[in-house]
Symmetry: C2
Subunit: 304 residues, 2 copies
């Protein structure tokens, strides 16, 4: 029996699930923000861990966390927090995750599985995997969930329900470790898609980072024209620009981390937009109609 | 007293409004779709006309309209429908409005005010004004309200509440006619902004037609990459692309009508997007942050 199997049990209370529910002796969450806080609250609400252990960087946060009903123990250092963990979730901002993985690696117990919630995966998964000791396995995750709010206080036990969670193992990760991580997210209510870190980064560059770049650029453009025009915004402008109000620092980090794929998606999009402009400039209404209808057909096919 | 003043009365029931409410003997709506149907329902609900008269192109629609409680009379021809009208609303698709104005012009009574609901104004207002006989006045309107649904059946008496309505008179329109149209939209619950047709077309090219072109192009682009990726759409992609599902024919007509202004806005936007791409390509994170924060500040300033 692999060490991973030892931490999986099927409980009666979870019998309605079509898959084995992991119940961990200890779930450790490091540096919880909105996502990490939501993982803790959701795991507590669903009874997925006998003990939820947390480390946070700031002393006043550690103090506040000690008062939370969904937190069993708070440690002053990340290395102490992981020492008896079956599953470790690295919930720090994406550019701090590798550093945290390296710091805790020597202290991980035999059979520990380590995951994260970072939104860019290729380099992160390579470096975190390389940092692991022989007795532990890293398997990256990216839950496609969030909020305009930040901070563990705003986390919700329902945040992952019905959302996609990408699980992005490298080839050397054991099937059991991958399954442990995938089942954990399923148990939190997510639909899991397993793919390579590279494929993940290409997909999110297109369906998440490119729309963000467009919303940001539409806003920075309109701000230069006449900011008062925003008073005439209908639902269309309101919706297309909503995400431009997201946390700026988080997005700079994502653009830095997924630099190559975002640039590639942007360049290809600009080519498509040149085609739209050219059709308009040449009054080629057939071509313009083809593009508008093509876009509409695609959008009409979104899952509701 | 001008003929326009004769149709304005201040009723006790409307005393809570800070402006005179127009109550028309006859409000005529020609070719109602979603907007025209909503005008009729809203005017009926708010008691703004003693008689609401409608003409629709298709006989089966005229038959159905005769059954509606918010419609007092249905005529078989537009010329009959306008003969006793104080206010005429041309609610046809934008490329049919001028033709309709020319058709009814010789039959308008003394003092009639004619408006429309078209979303592009420069050429339309010039041609409709030129078509008017001496005894009637054209003053263009564009209520910034809509729905993904179409047709008068889906019209709502609340559609205009809290929305911007542009009123776009030419210089030769009398102040009284402009005020009649502006007060009508205010009485339907809209906030009225009066400006020239040219300024209107420049503004909507930026706050409405450009976002539509971007949503459409993002969708036609992603459709070519891998349509299955839409299954991973988070709230961001969902919101930024929502309007790409709008009626294709309506949008082709708007792009045709506002061709010059949309092309100009698109070209300037492409320049801004080139700047974003260049900052990313050169890893100029300070410049990228400046753009992201500029966009965020603009979006944070949207009226809530």
């Amino acid at each position: 029996m692999s060490p991973h199997c030892a931490i999986l049990e099927e409980l009666d209370i979870h019998a309605r699930f079509a898959f084995a529910i992991p119940v961990f002796d200890q779930l450790t969450i490091l540096a919880p923000g909105l996502l990490g806080g939501s993982v803790a609250k959701a795991a507590h609400a669903r009874g997925l861990a006998r003990r939820i252990v947390i480390w946070a960087r700031r002393p006043e946060v550690r103090l506040a966390l000690r008062e939370q009903p969904w937190c069993n123990q708070v440690f002053d250092t990340p290395t102490e927090a992981v020492q008896a963990a079956n599953l470790v979730v690295l919930a720090a901002p994406v550019e701090k995750i590798v550093e945290l993985a390296r710091q805790v690696a020597p202290h991980l117990p035999i059979g520990a599985v380590v995951t994260d919630v970072g939104s860019v995966k290729t380099e992160l998964c390579r470096l975190c995997t390389a940092a692991m000791p022989a007795q532990a396995t890293f398997v990256g995750s990216h839950p496609m969930a969030g909020s305009q709010k930040t901070g563990w206080e705003n986390g919700s036990p329902a945040l992952f329900e019905g959302r996609t969670c990408f699980v992005t193992p490298l080839a050397q990760a054991s099937a059991a470790a991958v399954e442990t991580v995938a089942q954990f997210w399923r148990a939190l209510g997510s639909t899991v898609t397993t793919l390579s870190p590279e494929e993940h980064d290409q997909i999110v560059a297109h369906v998440s980072h490119l729309p963000q770049a467009l919303a940001t650029t539409l806003c920075s453009f309109l701000a230069q024209k006449n900011p008062q025009w925003r008073n005439f915004a209908g639902g269309g402008l309101r919706d297309t620009t909503r995400i431009a109000a997201s946390d700026a620092t988080m997005w700079i980090e994502i653009f830095q981390q997924n630099h190559g794929e975002v640039l590639c998606a942007l360049n290809e999009f600009q080519h498509e937009l040149d085609g739209f402009s050219a059709a308009l400039a040449h009054r080629d209404w057939d071509e313009l109609r083809r593009r508008v209808e093509h876009g509409k057909t695609y959008r009409d096919g979104f899952p509701s």
